[in-house]
Symmetry: C2
């Protein structure tokens, strides 16, 4: 057991863009940041300056360099970059972003959906490039009201998306690791039937061995030529190479994507298409969410060092 | 009184982009279309081929050329292009689009709002222009959840917008010609107090002598530097010249605009700004809405020629 009076050292390992929480943490703990401290060669070697988004892979090998590690406070919701089995074996506790980003990600998912259906970025380009004056009326959009929307992953984010889409007259259904009790939405036991019975699928589940490329060619063919995919989960949930082909060939109707298999970047083949909306992994990126995660990080650290229950623990089984 | 058996002639006067309803009308009535019939010089002179959007001004002078006119079936919600006093004097009935477009316009208003706050078109440009790879993370957006949203005009469209924004945790208030009974939202008696007490104002009221330039410089100063304007009503509701200055100078924070004082077009000064989303007057433009208006037009004509009450009459007092 560790107590606050022992002034435990907190190692901060993350891209420098998250330095907005350094002051808050430093006021409470002695902090060693890998992105500021040049006197920690091992730790510096862990930081990948070329990568703004891709998370450091916390595998067993890397964890072996941190023999005193007791807690991993993860600032993302997804923990696919962490070897959770190794954490469990070593007794390292893990926390994630919990619900800190849920509202913003749900807002963004709905925004991407309306943007794809009503072609808002394409319409905006149409006005700015003066095509409206030259060529007259813009193409028709697609009605959102009344659409059947299937949500893959009905956790905190998925539930907020569902709640937001209800008053649009959308018919909500979902697929999740298990059917939820006392949820009014129709449950589909697999993603194939979810896609076959919906006009839109929204991906907001965790990326893991079971969900990697869960949206494959077959799922997209089931969704069909008017179907739309919204992805605010992780790029790896979709077989992106196949998705690009499906979008280019009209196998599916459109996509709104905040996440990609390779980040930063996104597939160049999509950069000329009007039926896709591309977003640079910024569904969480508001001051509100950043404040939430800073407060949650601090609260998890305080709870840990006070031997209190963690605020947003990740289950390690 | 006119009966169906007399086969009344229906004059169809509108831009050719609305010819999707010609077949439906022709199956039911003898139709004379100004955009197809070259043998009607007077009627042809009424049609302005250079204008895709601007509606023909149906003033007393033009109406005097149509001495037998008994009914004006208007395919827009707004009737600011019609001399309603002259229609009343002559006993000409008028119908409008009623609620045919309400869902699509409400969807579009919410889409524009999220697009402005979360900078969706700017984010999309950032990915497509490969700036994400070159310069790293995109700028932060603004949180929608919890925002105070003031709706100007709580009719069919405004009510649907309010209903859609409730589950985002937005705090809704409104200004309207009069306070509505049994409406839970806070009422502001004028647009200045509406702007002063909200983060966002959404314009969806009719354009008339009382509402022209209702959003002037003073209103925008009250809304303030973080304030956002969404306009799905008519361009003339805003003093556009002042709005451009306010957006360029940061007097207000952003705008999502589907309508403009000069259409097609929009103010060039806004074409380089990331805090505005521009849409080419297409809030109603889905097949669903076009089908609604075609059916409503037919239903109004049938009602009129059967001496039944009109479906979507415009009050002429």
């Amino acid at each position: 057991m560790v107590s606050m009076s022992e002034s435990p050292l907190v190692l901060v390992q993350r891209p420098p863009t998250f330095d907005f929480m350094d002051e808050l943490l430093s006021r409470n703990f002695p902090v060693l940041t890998t992105h500021h401290t040049s006197s920690a060669p091992l730790l510096n070697s862990l930081y990948q300056p070329s990568s703004h988004i891709a998370m450091l892979k916390l595998d067993a090998d890397l964890l072996s360099h941190l023999p005193s590690l007791q807690l991993l406070v993860c600032t993302s919701v997804g923990t696919e970059h962490i070897d959770l089995a190794e954490c469990k074996r070593r007794g390292i506790a893990v926390t994630n972003a919990g619900e800190a980003f849920s509202e913003d990600v749900a807002d963004c998912a709905v925004g991407l959906l309306i943007s794809v259906l009503r072609k808002i970025p394409a319409a905006d380009r149409y006005v700015r490039s003066e095509k409206w004056v030259k060529f007259g009326e813009f193409q028709l959009g697609i009605k959102l009201s009344g659409k059947r929307v299937g949500i893959l992953g009905l956790g905190s984010i998925g539930s907020l998306i569902a709640k937001r889409l209800e008053p649009f007259g959308c018919i909500i259904s979902y697929n999740s690791t298990s059917q939820k009790q006392s949820i009014p939405y129709l449950y589909y036991p697999d993603v194939l039937s979810l896609a076959a019975n919906n006009d839109v699928i929204i991906l907001c589940c965790a990326l893991n061995d079971q969900t990697r490329h869960i949206v494959n060619r077959e799922v997209m063919e089931s969704l069909g030529k008017n179907g739309v995919i919204i992805n605010v989960g992780r790029g790896g949930l979709i077989d992106e190479k196949e998705m690009v082909k499906c979008l280019v060939d009209g196998v599916i109707g459109g996509a709104g994507l905040d996440v990609f298999e390779k980040e930063p970047g996104g597939p160049e083949e999509l950069f000329g298409l009007d039926n896709v909306v591309l977003s640079p992994h910024c569904a969480i990126a508001t001051p509100g969410s950043l404040n939430n995660i800073a407060q949650l990080t601090l609260a998890n650290l305080k709870a840990f060092f006070s031997n209190q229950p963690l605020i947003s623990p990740v289950r390690l089984d």
